[in-house]
């Protein structure tokens, strides 16, 4: 599969260095006999915003805490900008972290919170004051400088936490579920705001999230984690269009997965016999694998077409009954049950029926599903 070297570019088009900046090599973290992080290798480039995405308990937070120095890895190495920081104490690392709970010091004002890290570095007073002002302007909180954290709203607290973690100009910024504590509406607005701030500062950033939308909106590259292992790394587009395993395909967006065996294997054409589909899936490119191999084909719901006409058995097609319709305004999601019992999801734009001069199909109606042979992705695991 594609190895994410295709031009990574952040949303604002900031230039990303191609040289590895942070290298995580063979990192392992064991709690008792349990592998919380299982041999993870990862390379991050300078100025990149990287998202570690996975469900809770997948090891992403442990990995982040090892980068921050809060956990000592069982094995492996972390190299940041040419310096081995594996054994460095958290207070000696040029890394700062924004905590999920923000961890703002409740007995200090906004200003004092932001200045805390700078004071630890024993910077001269005027420099600290200047940097604090700069940070307050960056997050637009200057008029709240002398407030205590509990006098701020959730969104403002998040910005204070960000300012505090950026104040020391860290070589690497870690964000632990940066928007997890905000409600959904505020979260969407804050996502882009946060990315803009990070790009203004130009900091290299690793964030941890369980929210795929957040990861895809904010990050230039995403790493999918499950059960302590890093399954796939790539740009949001690569991960969505070319998942390398069923977990990734199902975790990122919706998909239909059909299991089956390879029955025709030619350089320009593969056919998979799938009992679930009740037919063959044809793909217009070759794969590397022997005949008879168990594989899975992933087809995104937006690639599945619906029509009413006569059904002629053919590859990449089946006939089924509409079981459920979720009407979402500009599009609808149809759940079509095939004779095998498998339910296939199909996303159909509302204009599709209007343009064809047809009534939209209703519950219980028999319809044909089909897709183009260039669209399915073959997965071997």
């Amino acid at each position: 599969m594609m190895d994410a070297v295709a031009q990574p570019k952040t949303a604002a088009g900031a230039q990303v260095d191609e040289k590895p900046y942070l290298q995580i090599a063979g990192i392992v973290k064991k709690f008792g006999d349990h592998f919380a992080v299982d041999h993870v290798d990862l390379t991050i480039r300078r100025h990149e915003i990287f998202a570690l995405l996975g469900s809770s308990g997948c090891g992403k937070s442990t990995l982040l805490r090892m980068l921050a120095g809060m956990e000592r890895p069982t094995a492996g190495k972390i190299i940041l900008d040419g310096q081995d920081i594996t054994a460095l104490a958290p207070y000696d690392r040029p890394i700062n972290m924004m905590f999920q709970s923000y961890a703002l010091f409740p007995h200090m004002t906004v200003e004092q919170n932001i200045a805390f890290g700078l004071k630890q570095d024993r910077l001269p007073k005027d420099q600290i004051a200047a940097r604090v002002t700069e940070m307050l302007d960056l997050v637009q909180l200057r008029k709240f400088a002398s407030r205590k954290p509990y006098q701020l709203s959730g969104g403002q607290q998040q910005r204070v936490a960000l300012a505090r973690s950026l104040a020391k100009r860290p070589k690497l910024l870690l964000l632990d579920e940066p928007l997890g504590a905000l409600d959904k509406k505020l979260r969407q607005q804050t996502q882009l705001e946060l990315v803009n701030t990070l790009e203004t500062v130009g900091v290299t950033c690793i964030m941890v999230t369980h929210d795929q939308e957040e990861a895809m909106t904010m990050a230039s590259r995403i790493g999918i984690m499950s059960e302590g292992r890093l399954l796939q790394v790539g740009t949001p587009t690569e991960i969505y269009d070319f998942p390398n395993c069923r977990f990734t395909a199902e975790f990122i967006g919706e998909t239909n997965i059909f299991g089956g065996q390879v029955v025709v294997d030619e350089p320009h054409c593969v056919e998979i016999e799938s009992a679930e589909l009740g037919g063959r899936i044809q793909i217009d490119h070759g794969i590397t694998g022997p005949k008879g191999m168990q594989v899975w084909a992933s087809i995104r719901p937006e690639d599945v077409r619906l029509d009413r006409g006569e059904f002629t058995p053919a590859p990449n097609a089946a006939r089924g009954k509409i079981e459920d319709i979720a009407y979402l305004g500009s599009y609808s999601i149809y759940h079509v049950r095939l004779p095998s019992g498998k339910v296939v999801k199909s996303v159909v734009p509302s204009s599709r029926w209007y343009e064809a001069g047809e009534e939209p199909p209703t519950w219980g109606e028999s319809v044909n599903i089909r897709w183009r042979p260039d669209l399915p992705v073959v997965l071997t695991m």
Binding site: K143, A145, Q151, S153
Partner: protein, 299 residues
């Protein structure tokens, strides 16, 4: 439980009886402290003579002074040691002997005071035999005994507060470059200051009214207030003691009211500030998220 229904009459009666049982003795004690008669049980008219004679009683004045000195000294020591112990119990996780340590820390609270007092007395006597120190029993030995007792209470209060506090606050401080010692003084200590203050006050009250341990550990010339009261009562009730008790009740009452008021108003202010912050957040954001105006009105 009663879903806002009025309490049944019988329950109200029981409640009233309970409160009467608790407070009638204290109220009658205060009233009789203004008794002109020398007899405790016979009302002989209003007078403040017992208050006057109290002030003139050197024995009582010196006992009060000693009690306050010991209370302040042992509360201070208990707060220092108890805070450290509470911190270890809450933050160091499981280490070798952590269960034993926790058990031994809280033992003075549940151990019968007679045992604690007696064993400490034996310790001090044998110490005197071997090292010649402490040369006599008095302020120092009482202070040591009270500190042992109060420390346990402080440790428990501080530990439970520390467990409540988000650990990521300390981690954030470490992340921002502070070393463990500095984190303790800059972050942890301010956050548990309230628990430490209440531990201090608790220690003072424990030390002020301790009689058993004190009796074992005191020597000639070191008589605390509870000891004076107890010995006087054994010789027959005396209206002077009533006056002394009334003053104590008054002082404690004022003290509790003030502390309560301060705590409540602090909480009210905090709630108000939080509500204000939420309201601001609900209001529509000004264009550019308040950037322009915010910078212009900076202090």
């Amino acid at each position: 439980m009663y879903n806002g229904n009025p309490l049944p009459k019988t329950l109200k009666g029981v409640l009233l009886l309970g409160f009467l049982f608790l407070y009638v003795p204290i109220v009658s004690l205060i009233i009789y402290s203004f008794n002109a008669s020398k007899l405790v049980t016979v009302w002989g008219g209003f007078s403040t003579r017992w208050y006057v004679s109290l002030i003139q009683n050197d024995q009582i004045i010196s006992a009060v002074t000693l009690s306050i000195k010991i209370a302040l000294a042992s509360a201070t020591a208990a707060v220092v040691l108890g805070t450290i112990a509470g911190f270890v119990l809450a933050r160091f996780g499981r280490f070798r002997g952590s269960t034993l340590f926790a058990g031994m820390m809280t033992a003075p609270m549940v151990m019968p005071e007679v045992i604690t007092g007696l064993s400490m007395l034996l310790l001090f006597i044998s110490m005197q035999q071997f090292f010649g120190q402490p040369s006599e029993r008095g302020f120092f030995t009482i202070w040591a005994g009270h500190t042992t007792l109060c420390m346990a209470y402080v440790a428990v209060v501080v530990r439970s507060r520390l467990i409540e506090i988000d650990k990521s606050l300390e981690e954030a401080a470490m992340d921002l470059g502070a070393r463990p010692m500095k984190i303790f003084f800059l972050i942890t200590l301010p956050l548990v200051s309230q628990a430490i203050a209440s531990g201090f006050l608790l220690s003072i009250t424990l030390s002020l009214d301790d009689l058993v341990t004190t009796s074992f550990l005191s020597g000639p010339g070191a008589t605390t207030l509870p000891m004076v009261i107890f010995s006087k009562v054994r010789l027959g009730l005396n209206p002077e003691i009533n006056a002394l008790a009334a003053i104590t009740v008054l002082l404690v009452g004022i003290f509790v009211l003030v502390a309560n008021y301060l705590m409540l108003s602090a909480q009210r202010n905090r709630m108000r500030a939080m509500a204000a912050a939420m309201r601001e957040n609900d209001a529509p954001a000004p264009p550019g998220n308040g950037a322009g105006g915010a910078v212009a009105t900076a202090p």
